[in-house]
Amino acid sequence: MSEQSPPLSVSQEKDIRLVEFTNSKILDEANITEIGAQLNALIDQSDSPKVLLDFQSVDHLSSAALGMLINVNNRIKQRNGQLRLAGIKPQIFEVFVITKLNKLFRILPDRSEALKSFTAQ
């Protein structure tokens, strides 16, 4: 019963790649692997990638999704890029707090705040 729509919607705002999750759940292993591969490909397209992940549609995520996000963060750091997370609902933010990943990621309340938080390079 996998959903057929692509798991990510990507757009560009100046030099920032704006990525929206299109499914409300980031749980399924195959889905997470596909998301990770798409994000890695996107990161590798530029030398100092600026990536904003918008979670406004996301209601559920698993530890496997968190692991994927950590890999994405590491890859962006290796390329001297910047990653921002935005639009995280309270019950999902709680998952970041429990795992203390709110200290690892730069999390902003919404997309506009996140867009403003990127620094020029």
Binding site: M1, L27, D28, E29, H60, S62, S63, A64, L66, G67, I70, N71, N73, N74, Q91, E94, V95, V97, I98, T99, K100, L101, K103, L104
Partner: protein, 183 residues
């Protein structure tokens, strides 16, 4: 949230047990929960007892059946979210890390849901593991590693969690509306 209506048989009809083994694991397993959650009343109980092969779709189907019962029986949204998260992590642990996706190995699930409490036991047929040896993923030196968070989430969101049989069996309990240590 009030479930069910005036049917006096609703509570009784939901108290039986249903046992079956799912066969191929291809696609969703057949329904085997006792009782119809749509008819549950305040004294209701739903039991799900099943054995599945180590395949994600079979695991997903059991999760959906348990969650359907939890929602219909009137668990709060946060408690439902907690059970969904813990179930997902526990099922992945059993299928992937316990049974190593070996389709000849099974996962045994027993869930009992009442309006007050959900008790869920999940047992795999893998080698087991030592809970105490799993590193704390919240420590700064472990924060960028990609393991250990599933167990942390289960233990954070459920009220009671016990690993036994050398780590192969997990019993977890969620009391409706009681949210431990998630702040």
């Amino acid at each position: 949230m009030q479930i069910g209506g005036t049917n006096p048989q609703a509570g009784r009809s939901s108290t039986g047990h249903a046992k079956r083994r799912t066969g191929s694991g291809k696609g969703p397993a057949k329904r085997s929960a006792s009782g119809d959650p749509a008819k549950l009343n305040g004294s209701a109980k739903v039991t799900v007892r099943t054995t599945i092969p180590s395949l994600y779709p079979a695991g997903q189907d059991v999760q959906n059946r348990i969650l359907n019962a939890v929602e219909k029986i009137g668990f709060t949204p946060h408690s439902t979210f907690a059970i969904k998260l813990a179930l997902e992590e526990a099922m992945i642990n059993a299928i992937k890390h316990g049974n190593k996706l070996d389709p000849t190995k099974s996962v045994h699930i027993h869930a009992k849901v009442t309006p007050k409490v959900a008790e869920i036991t999940i047992e795999d047929e893998g080698p087991g593991f030592d809970r105490a040896a799993v590193p704390d993923p919240t420590l700064e030196e472990n924060r960028e590693k990609c393991s250990g968070r599933g167990i942390l989430l289960i233990e954070s969101y459920m009220n009671s969690v016990k690993w036994s049989h050398n780590g192969r069996r997990l019993r977890m309990v969620k009391r409706n509306g009681e949210e431990p240590g998630v702040r």
